[in-house]
């Protein structure tokens, strides 16, 4: 039996068989190397499911999707309107001065269609409860390269019109007497009046075009109503040391803090230092307590709390944010303070100054 079984084992292997075997082994090794190399450039489609069933039923995420890219935030369902609606009349009709004419129709956009006109920026307007955009273009009859685009944003309320105006305003641009507040950027004009935020945008720079733009803006400004409703933050934030044209109103994410809603911010000169102060009227004292707690948690996470003071009138917390200082206080349902101040004593004094003014007003 043993001899018979040993007969299956050959003591000698021919040269041809050795060569073929080596080639086969090399081939296997080559395939292995190729697969490995291919794996280094991962193809995400390689093992994806081919039959991705698209259910027609609306699904609800089981978990909160909190990391919402702002580009999607506040976006509305797809528009029901097909196209901008021509407006037969309105404040934009007949605006063209001599030598200019209207280009196309006056068009309007609602919250559902705003992205068609200003995609990428629409969400900011929607945050401020945007109602309607009415716009038109004027073109120079002699020189078609010169045109003026006019945008009238109806924001529903004066505070919202001021808010969107204020957050779009760039530093250092010259103020101009248009509406409640306005400024010029080269040959373009921006102002707000009542519930309206207006942009008169010139195609080029140049004195002549700037004059035409100003004339158009002035005519338009007279046609817009203003109910005179005051803006709380503009009067609540003290005017002493305040840098003109720096008050801003944020409906959300003031100072990039998700819990700081309905907040007014202004820049001040305190001594030689620039100080950013903020003030927010919360819905109730309890809500203000909650906001202060959130602020303190933020200070702890990204810096450290270096001081806390509680009196019968207010509670304040001071944070060192690694070279800059924040002081936040709560008084009743008000949350206020200063942020990103480079000097601790300046920060604390500025916060106290703000607090004192509020106390006087109470």
């Amino acid at each position: 039996m043993r001899r018979k079984r040993r007969g299956f084992i050959r003591g000698r292997i021919s040269r041809t068989e050795t060569v073929i075997s080596c080639m086969l082994l090399l081939l296997i090794a080559g395939i292995g190397i190729a697969i490995y190399a291919k794996g280094q450039i991962y193809d995400p489609n390689l093992f994806s499911l081919n039959q991705f069933a698209l259910s027609n039923t609306r699904s609800v995420s089981a978990q909160p999707d909190r990391l919402v890219p702002p580009e999607d935030e506040g976006s509305k369902p797809s528009p029901a309107m097909d196209a901008p609606v021509p407006s037969p009349s309105g404040p934009l009709d007949g605006l063209a001065p001599a030598g200019w004419k209207t280009l196309g129709n006056v068009s309007q956009f609602t919250a559902d269609t705003l992205f068609e006109k200003i995609d990428g920026r629409a969400e900011q307007y929607l945050d401020y409860k945007f109602v309607r955009l009415t716009c038109v273009s004027l073109v120079n009859e002699q020189d078609k390269s010169q045109f003026i685009d006019i945008y009238v944003f109806d924001m529903g309320k004066p505070a919202q019109a001021f808010g969107v105006f204020s957050v779009e305003r760039s530093d250092g641009l010259p103020a101009i007497a248009l509406g409640r507040e306005g400024y010029r950027a080269e040959a373009s004009y921006f102002f707000w009046k009542g519930r309206y935020y207006v942009q008169v945008l010139a195609s080029n720079k140049g004195t002549k075009l700037a004059q035409v733009g100003l004339s158009v803006a002035g005519t338009l400004e007279k046609r817009l109503n203003d109910n005179g409703e005051p803006i709380w933050g503009l009067t609540a934030l003290p005017e002493t040391d305040r840098i003109p044209g720096t008050v801003q109103y944020f409906v959300t994410d003031a100072m990039s803090l998700d819990f700081m809603k309905d907040t007014y911010i202004a820049q001040y000169r305190k001594g030689g230092a620039k100080v950013m102060a903020f003030l927010s009227k919360q819905s109730s004292p309890d809500a203000a307590v909650k906001t202060l707690t959130s602020y303190e948690a933020y200070l702890k996470k990204f810096g450290k709390v270096i001081g806390k003071q509680e009196t019968d009138i207010y509670t304040s917390v001071t944070g060192d944010m690694g070279g800059t200082f924040d002081v936040v206080f709560r008084k009743g349902r008000l949350i206020g303070g200063v942020s990103m101040v480079e000097n601790q004593s300046v920060a604390e004094k500025a916060a106290l100054d703000l607090l004192a003014v509020l106390r006087d007003k109470d």
């Binding site: 490995y36 280094q40 990391l67 995609d119 990039s256 911010i265 480079e342």
Partner: protein
Amino acid sequence: MTEKKDGLTRREFIRQVSLGTAALAAASTIPQGISAASTIKNGMGYRTLGRTGLEISEVGLGAGSISPSGSNLIRAALSQGINFIETSSNYKNAQVETAIGQAVRSMGRDKVFILTKAGNLEIGRMLDAPASEVEKAVRTELEGSLKRLQTDFVDVYSCPYMAFSPKEVALPAVQEALEKFKKEGKIRFKGLSTHSDYANICMTAIEEGYYDVLQFPVNFATLLPHIRNAVLEAKKAEKSAGGGGERKGEGGQERAIIDVSEVLKAAQRKNVGIVAMKGAQEGFLPPIMRDQVKGEFAKDTKLSFHQFAYRYVLDQPQVSTVSIRMANMLHLNEALVLPQKTLKG
């Protein structure tokens, strides 16, 4: 023991070789993911931005939604290990660059790599313009950015911004201008961004070899054909049912959903850095499909959808960084944990 004179019978040898090959094959199909692509330091992953050699955080701070009062967000991000900021001259009327400038001045310029873009220029409208005019326009944009950012240079300057056609990436006037700025020390590397026809535009740029960094949409829909088809079908159905259908992109263009898998491979071959954007944007994956996509990869994931979507983008080893638009600290906190997570959570 003649049958084992080399230690193995042929049968055993073949069996072992087969097992080895199978194991190798199996190993190679595992997505390389973060462990292969990143270096982790203090919880943040860092990757090389292609041939620039810059070691940038894989979580990039997309600055487009930062509030003008939000330089504290930038400071917080930098203090937590993010060292790459992606911005543009036209974000919030340039106020975002101003906020970045304030933060960078106090934190130190050496702590951060900045990519900004010629956001107010439409290069597509300058295809026939004289080179001197192009240079002047780009210079005005760049110098405005440098002033607001309070820096002498940017690490990556993207021009064209939002390229609409391959012609824009091969425009000699732009390339000459960028070379000049590079020699002047105002920019270190050249980039471009594109939202439409991006596969063609990027492939042209890669083949031409001029640009060091590309920025384009990378997400489930642009990577996976079956999801892309499902999204397109869903949009088509919505449109025919009377809904708005396809949402338009910037400039009124249709928002394109295009396969970028070949672009990723080509970029890797040519060592071009990739800044992924729109990783979780609704226009590329409607909310109605989110649970289905989650279910396909990790049904019981502990991540929010947006974390999940960005994590998936980071699982592509060719991606250098994913630019995540952050508006507040909540967004920052959720982005900061991504390097330590898998799709399962």
